[in-house]
């Protein structure tokens, strides 16, 4: 549950609040679990829905602008653009900078698009796995992922353009 909540939030207090809500809801709705799927799947779906609702309630979609970037994030982008290979960073500091920047990028997307992109492009989940996790149809998952990819790419292109790349 903690891992599912962490997909949506980075701040520890928010992750813990969401995970706690998931446990409470699961406990009160235990009677509605029919045992058709796995318990883990049932819990994951509850967690996903709760986190989506929290994100929907916050209604925050800030634009990704260069003025909001920290020096580290600016440097990270410069390094990534100058290196041809797209390998992941291994230093803890760089990982943190990249995850911060990723969060800002994901915040520009709707909660549903964000989830689809994180699961499919970030965690290499299949469309059917995401459909099972969210309760959406497979075509909806594909559309969401496509739209999210496009929006994220456009937001990043805009940002890089402002930075002069």
């Amino acid at each position: 549950m903690f891992h599912v909540a962490h997909r949506f939030f980075r701040q520890r207090s928010l992750v813990e609040d969401a995970a706690q809500e998931v446990f409470l809801k699961a406990f009160t709705q235990l009677g509605s679990y029919e045992g058709r799927g796995s318990m883990e799947g049932w819990l994951t779906r509850i967690a996903t829905n709760i986190c989506l609702n929290i994100l929907r309630a916050s209604k925050r979609r800030p634009e990704l602008t260069t003025a909001d970037l920290t020096e580290d994030q600016d440097r990270w982008l410069d390094e990534k653009l100058s290196s041809a290979a797209g390998e992941l960073h291994h230093s803890a500091e760089n990982k943190m900078v990249a995850a911060d920047l990723a969060d800002r990028l994901l915040e520009t997307l709707s909660p549903e698009d964000r989830l689809a992109l994180t699961l499919i492009d970030g965690e290499d989940a299949s469309v059917s796995e995401v459909a099972e996790m969210t309760g959406w149809s497979e075509s909806k998952v594909k559309v969401r992922a496509f739209r999210a990819r496009k929006k994220a790419r456009e937001a990043m292109e805009k940002l890089l353009g402002r930075m002069g790349h």
Partner: protein, 162 residues
Amino acid sequence: MKDKHIIDILEKGPWASLTESEVRTITAHTEICAACRSAFEAARVSTLLVKERAAETMEPSPFFQTRVLAALRERQAKNNLPVFARLWKSAGMLVSSMALTTAALAAFTFLAPAAGTGTSQNTVTDLSPYSAEAVVFNQDQSDEQLTDDQVLTAIYADNEVK
């Protein structure tokens, strides 16, 4: 194939699902098309960021379990309250406001007429001491105490008003 824009290929699926031929097409096209090159760079960086974010892990704090159990107990205690207490919790405000409104209406009903009587009495006492009304209402003042002139003045004054 070189002349065909590659943005559609970038967005049709995850980065990892691109075939070798698609990668070759993308590389060849981005060398001659500046728009697609910037789109390709942006897509590459955003995919990398999403991967970095997904790779990040967080473990629950040592007090998380205690916190959840405490919240669970609190919720159970709430659900175990007697029916009347739960009803009062949800409808207490409504009942209180209704009681207050009833009390206010009762106060107006019983106090307002008393205040009205006081006003009419004041009006009578404010009249001229020799007017017809004053003579009728003022029981203490007997006819013997009035002079003839006073009686006549009071009667003429009443006639003039009428």
